[in-house]
């Protein structure tokens, strides 16, 4: 059958033209009411002072408040660290079951577990890590009783930056695996064979061909991992109870009216968070589209 466009006047649409947008109206209505308006409300309120006039004072106050600035920095730090570490670990895992040549059943197990782990974040994950690396945790006990290493004496603490990072890793690297496995699949075998045929070693193939091709995908996914970690609240709070002043925890406290007694500051904090998330997500989307040029 020749390619014919679906005529707009077929069957029931007597409206055609603008009436076409009626079909997506419920979706947009929902989006406006419960996504766009609430977010916009906060963004706009960040620029308003007590009397409703436009001001940049709230944003300025963000930078002047040492606590808030260091919260942002802390969140950025932990997000960057877990994005990088999770990205690298996840990449090698994805590699092992694709090009790395491990048998197919191992691959499906890995994918299933990655899907589980990346959904396991939140309260249960925090408890799981307490049971693993807490003071009376499983690994802590093994290290003490079998290897004679007392990590808590050496200064390790699960309820610290390192501990939270390790916990975050649990859902970061699986996300990397889920995204990189298909990307690695699209590395054509012939590229490696062509490179070998032209005299390249495996290392040279990776350095000159495979990694450059994969780089947009890898970097892009790391941006996604960054955003993933930056916006996380539940895991951090369940694990550290607020002792680690991440920006999400600060904001939560602000909403409950605990600490700052200044709603405008809360709006500004939310705005700052959204900007950082938007930058990171944009980076992810842009790099993903770049990678599709070569991989698809």
């Amino acid at each position: 059958m020749a390619q014919t466009a679906l005529p707009a006047s077929r069957s029931s649409t007597s409206t055609g033209g603008a009436g076409k947008w009626l079909g997506v109206l419920p979706f947009f209505l929902f989006a406006i009411l419960f996504l766009i308006w609430p977010s916009a409300r906060l963004m706009v309120a960040a620029f308003l002072d007590d009397k409703g006039g436009f001001t940049l004072a709230n944003l300025a106050a963000l930078f002047q408040n040492q606590t808030i600035v260091s919260s942002y920095l802390l969140s950025i730090e932990i997000s960057a660290v877990t994005a990088l570490a999770g990205g690298i670990f996840g990449f090698f895992l994805a590699y092992s079951v694709t090009i790395g040549g491990l048998p197919k059943p191992l691959r499906s197990m890995l994918i299933t577990f990655s899907a589980v782990a990346s959904n396991f974040a939140g309260v249960p994950l925090a408890f799981a890590f307490v049971a693993t690396l807490g003071r009376t945790g499983f690994i802590t006990a093994i290290l003490k009783n079998i290897f004679g290493v007392n990590i808590y004496q050496s200064g390790f603490n699960l309820y610290s930056f390192l501990g939270l990072s390790l916990t975050y890793m649990y859902f970061q690297f699986p996300l990397m695996v889920l995204i990189m496995a298909p990307a690695l699949d699209s590395l054509k075998n012939e590229w490696r064979e062509a490179a070998e045929n032209l005299g390249a070693t495996v290392f040279q193939y990776w350095w000159h061909v495979a990694l450059p091709i994969l780089l947009p995908s890898i970097l892009g996914t790391m941006f996604l991992l960054f955003a993933n970690s930056f916006g996380a609240y539940a895991t951090a709070y369940a694990l550290t109870g607020g002792s680690l002043p991440l920006i999400t925890i600060q904001l939560r406290a602000q909403i409950s009216g605990d600490v700052l007694h200044n709603p405008s500051l809360g709006y500004a904090m939310a705005m700052g968070m959204v900007i950082i998330m938007a930058v990171s997500t944009t980076g992810y989307i842009w790099l993903q589209s770049r990678s599709e040029r070569w991989l698809k």
């Binding site: 419920p26 979706f27 419960f34 309120a45 491990l102 299933t112 990346s118 249960p124 955003a227 968070m273």
Partner: protein, 277 residues
């Protein structure tokens, strides 16, 4: 084969990383399971599970979250399926906009989302730019609050639900199916109910299970809006008990594992991630 050739071909490097991955996945789970069995000193038993499940708080909140999850799934499907179908069939221009919306839902973290919902719906509903009040703040009533909570959950689940359904629609090529059905004389109802939906079973199930996982695990919006959901209960439990929270955590892991396993089976390996919350 010579030993060196075997060495070159055997996936030792891959095996190393895989083993590391397995350890990272399994150890925390094992630790939780092991811990959950030790509520009675010197004895391994399922008492912690018994106590946890018997707690009325557990039943209340678990049922609450499940019910809300089902409602969220329905709302999500009702929003996404017709929209996605419509876009593919009639309105490809809207695709971009819809994808921006789902990306926006990803960009706004749950905590900001909750903050926004409280800001907007914590105030009485007025006709814009007037002072005519329609109703009191939705958040003042349990029904209103539950309604807003479900809407919040739906927003959180939206990107995943949309991607799931959209991929499914692309895979079965709804356009061609619809045109073929129309040329065979089927009306819209038949097309949607008898052809499109059954073929989307896998995507619908996948989206539904992911939404389920998100809702039951959701803490942020639930606690901001102060609803009796499961995960806040779990957190609270963890404040004064040790073994029961571990038991419930392990049980929820099993639940998620079952859900993801089902998704793997019905979609033939397409896996999705919900991300952190």
């Amino acid at each position: 084969m010579k030993f060196v050739t075997w060495l070159r071909r055997a996936p030792l490097w891959s095996g190393f990383w895989y083993l590391l991955g397995v350890l990272y996945f399994v150890l925390p789970l094992y630790a939780t399971f092991d811990f959950s069995l030790r509520i009675e000193r010197d004895k391994i038993g399922l008492l912690a599970y018994q106590k946890a499940f018997a707690d009325p708080g557990f039943l209340q909140t678990f049922v609450y979250s499940n019910v809300l999850a089902v409602i969220t799934i329905l709302v999500g499907l009702i929003l996404v399926v017709p929209t996605s179908y419509w876009i593919r069939l009639r309105l490809p221009e809207a695709r971009r906009v819809v994808e921006y919306v789902t990306t926006l839902a990803l960009v706004i973290p749950a905590i900001v989302m909750g903050f926004g919902l409280v800001s907007v719906f914590g105030a009485p509903i007025k006709i814009p730019f007037t002072s005519i009040q329609l109703t009191d703040s939705l958040l003042n009533s349990p029904v209103g609050t539950n309604f807003i909570v479900v809407m919040g959950y739906t927003v959180l689940a939206l990107p995943l639900m949309y991607r799931s359904i959209d991929t499914g629609m692309r895979t079965i090529d709804v356009r061609v199916l619809t045109e073929a059905s129309q040329s065979l004389g089927a009306n819209w109802f038949t097309i949607i109910v008898k052809i499109i939906l059954p073929n989307l079973r896998a995507s619908i199930l996948s989206g539904a299970l992911l939404t389920f996982a998100i809702v039951v695990g959701e803490v942020t919006i639930s606690s901001i809006l102060n609803v009796p959901a499961f995960s806040p209960y779990l957190w609270l439990l963890g404040q004064h008990k040790a073994y029961e929270p571990a038991a419930l955590s392990f049980a929820s892991f099993l639940l998620i594992w079952a859900s993801m396993g089902v998704i793997q089976i019905v979609t033939g390996g397409r896996a999705q991630a919900a991300g952190a919350h």
